[in-house]
Amino acid sequence: MSENPTSGSQVSTDSPRKSNLNFRGLLAYRGTSTASAELLMAVCAFCGFFLVWYAIVAFGIVPERFLPFPDAVVKALWGMFATNNFIEDVGISITRVWGAFILSVIMAVPIGIWMGSYRVVGAIIEPIVDFIRYLPVPALVPLLIIWFGIGESSKVAVLWMGTFFQLVLLIADDSKRIPREYIEIGYTLGARPSQITKDIVFRSMMPNMVDNLRITLGWCWTWIIVAEIVASKSGIGHVIWSMRRFLKTPEIMAGILTVGVIGLVSDQIIRILARRIFRYL
């Protein structure tokens, strides 16, 4: 949309590019902030984190054998990428996570909305889902390996077990939470239930849904490491686990750090995309 001249006076939100860092707003109770101020805070938080870490090792609070210096971890990471072909493991883990995640999403979204739309569907599916989602996924791993072997399908199965049942309930809740008036408006504009679902319910719940998908994607990273530790010859989890055998703490931490960075980056990408798509929020 082109910036029309009248919009300036109406839209009161601060432009994120404002150079003013607005510290007063950051400190005020429920105050406002700017993107640059938030970024600065985030950078400070990370610097502080590494500083504390460094101090803990430097003062010998934790022996270096158990907690290496941050720069040793970075060096280990560099070495893993340079000589151990770590990038391949990273790629494999990302592929597994996204494959399973997408499978969960394309199943959970329609089923969840369906559950929210018809009481009968909700009444049938909800108790079962509620039961299964309380089963501890790690306890299911042996069973899933017996069923699916140690190939890719067992990893997908673990991730799917760990996310689908939670997600489907979250989606059902999202779809139920949209105002009843929206549905009734749909009817009085002549829409059929399927059209209301597509054009009103789905559109209305989308921002909440994306938030729930972000959370779920985070869980996927927990389950993939579990799955790769237990039964895999590749992936970040496998690398972390095999380094344990040689007590290579820097490499283990490098692996963990990699997961954190991937999580942070993908989450930020989704948030930026969401902000683009949901410009009205």
Partner: protein, 275 residues
């Protein structure tokens, strides 16, 4: 309009909401009948909780009557459709759409016109409610009064035969309210559509209505039918509110309302302390 057949015919409508364990069943409407003419502006007035919304929703097909029938343009009302347009008190314009897109949404499910006509119709109603320069704004960037105008335009764009409005200006400040009342009268004069308008506000009722139905406390029955148009004929402007006829009529309606509200208080306090 002196049509022989009424446009809307409500005959013997009663409504009882089935209770559950916590709440007993509630008798909300008791044997209400009324005829509404083509293009007539009808206002429902009554004490809070008496069943005005419920009756309006029954006319709109969003609620089914326990007893009695509603006919619209000679056809039995069995459910909601685009011939019965609704405007709610809560803001129902969609936040993910712009002002124009919201209005265009009103035409989305019409099969009687093509896409070009849909755009024309939407433009027409956009201008009619005076939001032309805000067409590209998302609705959460505009004021509450504007949002209600969007909702009205969207409903009109669907091409309804009757407008059902449930306290649409209830959440707005006095000035905005008055402004929208005048605008709504203009719109209904131009569009010649029947309107059922629910409100608490006696002044609003007298100002807008061709005819007011005053309901009793629950279960709602018609206690009085006030033919406002007979007393205040012709076009209404804000000056109308200064006239003696308006003043008298408003006082009369207020007194009838007061009596009903009192009656309701006595029902609601069965083991009254002072009464």
């Amino acid at each position: 309009m002196s049509d022989t057949a009424p446009f809307v015919r409500v005959s013997g409508v009663s409504k009882i909401f089935d209770g559950d364990r916590a709440h007993g069943s509630i008798h909300v409407i008791d044997n209400v009948s009324m005829d509404i003419g083509t293009g007539e502006f009808v206002v429902y007035l009554g004490p809070s909780g008496c069943g005005k919304t419920t009756l309006m929703r029954i006319v709109g097909g969003l609620e089914t009557a326990t007893d009695g029938i509603v006919d619209l343009a000679g056809e039995r009302v069995t459910g909601p459709d685009r011939h019965k347009g609704m405007v709610f008190q809560a803001y129902t314009s969609f936040p993910w759409l712009t002002v124009y897109e919201n209005i265009l949404f009103g035409t989305k499910y019409r099969t009687d016109i093509n896409d070009t006509e849909k755009a024309e119709v939407s433009r027409h109603y956009l201008d009619l409610v005076g939001l032309g320069e805000f067409s590209e704004f998302f609705v959460n960037r505009i004021s509450g009064g504007m949002r209600q105008r969007v909702a009205i335009a969207r409903t009109l764009a669907a091409g309804p035969d009757i407008l059902l409005m449930d306290e649409p200006f209830g959440a707005l400040d006095a000035q905005t309210r008055e402004f929208l009342q005048v605008q709504l009268l203009e719109i209904s004069r131009i569009e010649k559509k029947a309107v059922i308008f629910v409100t608490h506000d006696v002044e609003e009722a007298v100002f807008l209505a061709d005819r007011i139905f005053i309901f009793s406390a629950r279960p709602a029955t018609i206690v009085e039918e006030v033919p406002v148009k007979d007393t205040i004929p012709g076009r209404r402007t804000l000056e109308t509110k200064e006239t003696e006829e308006f003043f008298h009529l408003r006082n009369h309606v207020r007194n009838v309302m007061l009596a009903q509200t009192k009656a309701m208080e006595m029902i609601d306090v069965p083991t009254g302390d002072a009464e």
